[in-house]
Symmetry: C2
């Protein structure tokens, strides 16, 4: 009963009975070291992974060896549930930090789909939640400037970590290098450094190493035009994600 504790305090409307069903579907847990690839683009897979601890990325490699993040996962997220349906993914999945994942064989997911309409809908829902976040990432790249993008990303992570009690609303740990933040926001590490200084000097937030401290959440949210609707949080969490 311990593995899926992370699903207890989140915003998914999953009942404890359903959590038990999922818990029973876990074949085993795995640990991946930082940087390790979990799923490679184009390779057929037969299991899906739920992230229990750490951070994982979805990223697309470019021909010139760069990579770009198209998703970032926190504990409680299925990192590749869409592989249950797509079978082959259009992107890589990798561990950003050392992580622990729960392994769900697709056979057991098929059993759930055949027997439990409501839980199936919840699983479908979380795959579409990923999609909603991806759309917002498009918006972020298309409409915001460098510092707004970083601010928006920091707001998103704050909101998502709030939902799993990994942020107190103002301070959270984000074990990412400035280079990796750049891979999210499509900026060079050099410019991320400048942007973080600017956000610090504007008294919006203070990012030092892995520690993110939001100094003025309301101002940061407004600066980044952050609206957490796309995260489908419960009302209380959504409120905390935008103001004190």
């Amino acid at each position: 009963m311990l593995t899926l504790n992370v699903l207890r305090n989140n915003n998914l409307a999953i009942s404890s009975a359903e959590r038990d069903v999922l818990e029973k579907s876990i074949e085993r847990t795995r640990t991946l070291r930082s940087g390790q690839l979990a799923v490679r683009q184009g390779v057929e897979v037969e299991v899906s992974l739920l992230l229990v601890d750490g951070l994982m990325t979805r990223h697309i490699d470019t021909p010139d060896g760069q990579r770009h993040l198209v998703g970032l996962h926190v504990p409680g997220d299925f990192v590749d549930l869409h592989a249950y349906v797509l079978k082959k993914l259009d992107h890589d999945v990798a561990a950003l930090t050392e992580v622990r994942v729960a392994v769900f064989p697709h056979e057991t997911l098929e059993a759930i789909q055949a027997s439990n309409v409501r839980l199936t809908r919840r699983l479908w829902f979380v795959t579409l939640l990923d999609a909603a976040r991806e759309r917002q990432w498009i918006y972020r790249l298309a409409s915001l400037n460098a510092s707004q993008r970083v601010a928006h990303f920091l707001c998103e992570m704050n909101a998502r970590l709030l939902a799993i009690n990994a942020s107190d609303g103002h301070i959270y740990m984000l074990p990412m290098t400035q280079n990796e933040i750049g891979e999210v926001c499509s900026l060079t590490n050099v410019h991320v450094s400048r942007v973080l200084r600017q956000l610090r000097e504007s008294n919006l937030c203070n990012v030092r190493g892995s520690r993110v401290q939001i100094l003025d959440l309301g101002a940061l949210v407004s600066y980044a035009s952050f609206d957490p609707a796309y995260l489908f949080l419960n009302a209380e969490t959504a409120a905390r994600a935008v103001a004190t």
Copy 2:
């Protein structure tokens, strides 16, 4: 039996029996005029729409009145099937041209989900196909320069229109203004104009008004780093999408 003819020649592995089931789920068809909003962000909906004819957009409005496309739909696409699961969307859906859509009440989709596991999986699949395209749009914005982005977009549309026999592999109609292409690629209309000229002068493709003529598909694909894997086309269509 006419409405869903568009599903006949595409890449979805939907049997004719399943197409019949879908056909019977159509409550009615609607016509929307160019520019008309079909779904507004945040408003609960009870039907989903399948695009039968014309082009539709998914877009996010910015606070300053700009809009950015996060998706573009061609005939045969469900434009908001994800609303069946999410209930409220995180973005708007609008008609780009005059369009005809088939209306699927969510009740009938629920009936399908309760009774037809395989078809449900196909529906889930197409919602995830949208997500795969959205990820590629992130990649496009993050990794490609202006002319590569436009080239990539033109390759994508060629591939998708090939799948529904609306492109012969080199020439297709794309009723979009340069401003709208800019909303896809995050460029100003002025720069889109320059980019199209550049692509024309490089003998890659010739875009005039609504007519797109690809002069050298192999070169265009290579220039844009276009790999159609994310579209999950059948092998034959995928091959035609990248070369003669």
